[in-house]
């Protein structure tokens, strides 16, 4: 019915035959099993299977598929590995799902340039595993083993963004296939470019709605030799968050600056390998090329945290201790499942200017006091980004979580912030776009219509139906 409203075409046997002609017999499936495997990401939305799953092997496959789909107005949704958190690659209008599982190669590493060119289906952890041999890595780290294509589509970020920026800041050049099958190159391997419109950043974060990425050249960074992790525990949320602002203003250059509230710490302790103080706290990481610089950093950060009133500060350069500290953070989702068996997580992703962070956290803290659901906070505090997690078990609780989420989002937007710091708009946040962007949303829509007049590319995302 929704498809009919959008005037989408139907995937006929004839079209399936043409798809077979493009990608070959072994590269598509209409079985229920495969369709279900590609029906949902890690978000909380109900599954929605595509009509057909197609595994592409070349850019030409993608181009030919899009020409075909465009002619017949069949929806096309690109798919990396489904680790996204906002339903971004869910084919909610069915149609063709393009999997990049078979386009997962490193094409070329440019060691002198600190760059690598890859196919979109490669997982960033797999990429970094290979790059480690050359002492390099691709900094954005959204967790799980997200594919590079998905990370670019969603402008994914993660823990290290406070130092290295989001995916947007680490992409140099893309090959993109438009809805009509045209193949473009945008951006440049030259780090400096002032040559016409910045299509690179227009495509990055457009969630597959403007074009499909088939190749990407990424910026790399050298792996630091000296690293310390710091845990600082406070009596109050206010102290912890005050420290975030102080660290950001100190001239120190944290690689990670994460906030965890008491409830979150308590939840994390439901993992036998974790033993955190049940108080508001910060996890930090600092890197340096010289050991001396690191010692100075430890001194400086200890002073900042003590002055504001941390009652425990633990700084360690030991690899194992560092891993232990981050273990709790990396296994947050697992702890959630132990704490709320059978429930799912409604995940919030607002971000605000750093000066507004204390007020935002305080707003959520107050909201929680009267909220009918538990609420846990953990966030990339160094970027002004917070995730509030509401557990829900049924439709009633989902509605409550959704309403609480809306209150937090509206507060963040009112503070000059955004509905989504790193998960993208996907399905659930399109309802906040008019509020956040005003008339700029109309301009986004006009660009969408210009590049994809039939609306076949990942329909139902970013813009409200």
């Amino acid at each position: 019915m929704l498809q009919a409203e959008k005037n989408f075409g139907i995937l006929t046997d004839d079209i399936i035959q043409q798809i077979e002609g493009i990608v070959g017999k072994s590269n598509y499936s209409t079985t229920l099993a495969e369709r279900e495997l590609h029906s949902k990401d890690q978000s909380m939305y109900p599954p929605s299977p595509p009509d057909i799953v197609v595994w592409v092997e070349t850019t030409k496959h993608v181009s030919n598929l899009l020409q075909l789909a465009n002619t017949h107005r069949i929806p096309v949704t690109p798919w990396g590995v489904g680790t996204s958190l906002e339903g971004n690659p869910m084919p909610i209008y069915g149609g063709i799902l393009i999997s990049f599982q078979k386009m997962a190669q490193i094409i070329e590493t440019y060691t002198d340039d600190f760059q690598v060119t890859v196919q979109p289906g490669i997982g960033y952890k797999d990429l970094n595993g290979t790059l480690a041999r050359q002492g390099l890595f691709f900094p954005p780290d959204p967790g799980a083993n997200a594919t590079i294509g998905g990370m670019i589509a969603n402008n994914a970020a993660g823990i290290r963004t406070v130092k290295y920026g989001a995916t947007r800041d680490n992409v140099l050049s893309l090959q993109v296939v438009l809805a009509d099958g045209r193949i473009l190159r945008v951006g440049s391997r030259s780090v400096k470019q002032s040559s016409g419109y910045d299509l690179l950043h227009l495509i990055t974060g457009s969630e597959g709605t403007l074009g499909i990425i088939t190749e990407a050249t990424l910026k790399l960074a050298p792996i630091a030799e000296h690293k310390i992790a710091v845990q600082a525990v406070f009596d109050s949320v206010a102290q912890a968050v005050e420290t975030v602002v102080a660290v950001r203003g100190s001239g120190l250059d944290p690689v990670a600056l994460e906030f965890i509230d008491t409830y979150m710490a308590r939840m994390m302790n439901n993992n036998p390998n974790v033993d955190l103080a049940e108080s508001p706290q910060l996890f930090m990481e600092f890197h340096a090329t010289h050991e001396d610089a690191l010692n100075q950093t430890i001194e400086f950060i200890t002073e900042i945290c003590s002055d504001i009133g941390a009652h425990k500060i633990h700084a360690t350069a030991d690899t194992k201790e560092r891993a232990n500290l981050w273990y709790a953070r990396h296994h947050a989702l697992e702890s959630f499942q132990r704490t709320h068996p059978g429930k799912r997580a409604y995940l919030n992703d607002v971000a605000v200017p750093i000066s507004a962070y204390p007020d935002l956290i305080n707003f959520i803290h107050t909201l929680r006091e009267t909220a009918p659901l538990p609420a846990y906070m953990l966030g990339h505090a160094g970027d002004g980004n917070i995730h509030v997690i509401f557990p829900f078990g049924d439709e009633e609780e989902y509605k409550i979580a959704s309403e609480l989420n809306a209150q937090v989002v509206e507060q963040a937007i009112a503070m000059g912030g955004t509905a989504t710091g790193e998960h993208g708009v996907g399905i659930g946040k399109s309802r906040f776009m008019a509020q956040e962007h005003g008339d700029a949303l109309d301009v986004m829509w006009s660009i969408k219509q210009t590049l994809d007049p039939n609306g076949i590319l990942n329909p139902g995302k970013i813009f409200r139906d």
Copy 2:
């Protein structure tokens, strides 16, 4: 005649009356003197006066002017202070020139966020003069006293880009007026945002062809306490350029990494205050929060330069000596005028991946051997950016310079680089756009047509007529 071809309207007395109604009697002029003052920037193109100069004081002025101009299809060109180098704000189809001279205020400084919101007409040096009191600065430094609006429109860069990025990397949010008068806000004061299409970066670098910037929120950086300047002199261009690649790969984080060839050094010596070795050389600058770190840097950089064969290395933390070193670089244009009195500079601005930089420099070096004009090289080597300067005195020499420039540009593009690293496309580089961007240029054009269907915004720039 050109206006007629583009189907532009004529600025009638009635429209001038309406302009007076919008901005007031004292905020416009049709005198020849004012029109000539706004007829050219610092590029080598022949002057082209607007029909009217209008000084705006508010965003509403801009919005009302654009509605009027759009209705009557009158060209509109925004103007900062005219320091650009590619004719970017030259009103080559006449019409209305909007000067931002009277919109030059700092609106708000967000010290905790390291951000400032300004009007577009403020010069970045004036801005930095005020910000210095708070220990902050806006890093991009294109030279002269370019306005923030112009810097954003051209995605200007400069000497410090190797560390801090170009203007594009230091803009967070813009207020923009579209051709039809709509006022948009794009981007966010939240440093993290993954919320819809990146219109912020689409507008940045669009040279006033998609919309007119009326307000900007910028990222600031703390002024470093400890600074050193380093000069390293080599026997050969190859050694100097090899050092650039080595420094970029070393993990050191130069604030500036400039290359000057023998001819350029000799030219700079035509200034009584300059006394450079007449050999290929690098100027570098490094900053640090701790003095110790700076001493380690001096040791490390001295080792790198010596190993490659520098015959002179001078590192200094002394403020006066640092200023002396940079004096030569900052007065390059003055030295040009002393060396070639009465001639003008044809300025090239290509950039390539850093690994291709040695080959590019070698290409130019070889080209010079048979070139019928002198050629001087100075460049932001750390970014892979080089400026070749050809002096010309008449039309014949202009043609030769233009042809030499084309050879360098085509070589840079073939190496995966760009026709313009920091000056923008403006008038002269539109002829290389198809070669550099292929089908992506058509996409840029379709976006232009969508946002400015009458083509009134800064016509004749970026796209070839």
